[in-house]
Symmetry: C2
Subunit: 200 residues, 2 copies
């Protein structure tokens, strides 16, 4: 398969890319590094990326930003960081990317535990994740050409434990192998419209 | 109690307003009619509304738009109709409205069944509803002054059955009395951070 991994150099992305490279042609896209660069908050940049990749069998997105801050300090504009990047960035990857997928191809998005089980300072980040979950359920009712769309929603991952352990009190770090397997299930399985929750 | 109902002249809103008027001071806000007018997609308009209401005990929002259209026809801009109105409109009602609530006051938002169980042409509407669900779970971890925030998520309501029956095949219309009770539970009960699903 020819697989595009957006965010393939990130904490989760590099493990996912490492796995798929065993048996597939993998293209890594990133904001500042990778085979291709892309700013997913900009739909023109997304189109330019797909013009360079050509036809694909699978698109994986493990990218997108949202601002973390106290609710009392988040401005209206702060919410739009997440809305434009992690939310509409991933919606646009489906809107635009579907035209570059071979029949029966797949798109796998990424959210996180905050959608179901948020922590403080995540009103914006939780909102974005929850929005993507409902979007995925809705889009599979209409997407054609045999395409499948799923989303992986991991809890705090093992490789980010030191960075996030204080932000996620009581959350159990998820082994990276389990996170990688969620992407494998989406790309190589036949499931569609699923929110693949990966909790330890 | 002094209760502001945004969208209090709508299909659901008028039944909710009728109920609360029995024992409370009710102010109705609407886009084009009501005691006050407000455009919830505009945070300046929201601030102006609250300057006119003064201090409140409860805020209920049963308003907000999102564009329904085939996934293949929804433009990026179309998604922003829902993001600015039903999504950020309701987020802004909490951000701004909390300053106008008396201690232990409540805010009740409204989404709908599409968050969990979408139908065709609702990628944008479902996304907005799902985003609000996760936002509500997150914001109650931080909101102060004893304030409570809940969201009512009804299936197709009885009074909109003729309008929506073809869009929601197999969905059971929810009796209006049951929908009204969800708002009563949020405003008069002590629950907090709940998604009050009202399904028949």
């Amino acid at each position: 398969m020819k697989i595009l991994i957006i965010g393939g150099n990130g904490t989760i992305g590099r493990k996912v890319a490492h796995h798929f490279k065993n048996d597939n042609e993998v293209i890594i896209a990133g904001k500042t590094s990778g085979d291709l660069t892309v700013d997913i908050s900009n739909s023109v940049s997304i189109k330019e990326m797909f013009e360079k990749t050509g036809k694909l069998d699978a698109i994986i997105c493990i990218a997108g930003e949202a601002k973390w801050a106290e609710f009392n300090k988040l401005s209206e504009e702060d919410y739009y960081i997440g809305l434009k990047s992690k939310l509409m960035g991933q919606v646009n990857l489906v809107r635009i990317g579907r035209k570059y997928l071979n029949p029966n191809g797949s798109i796998t998005l990424t959210t996180g535990v905050l959608a179901d089980d948020p922590v403080v300072q995540t009103t914006s980040a939780a909102l974005v994740n929850g929005g993507i979950h409902s979007f995925v359920k809705a889009v599979v009712l209409e997407i054609d050409n045999g395409l499948r769309v799923n989303v992986v929603s991991p809890d705090m991952v093992e490789d980010a434990y030191d960075k996030y352990k204080n932000a996620f009190p009581g959350h159990n770090p998820v082994p990276m192998s389990k996170v990688v397997n969620a992407y494998v299930k989406s790309v190589q399985g036949k499931i569609n419209g699923q929110i693949i929750r990966v909790y330890a």
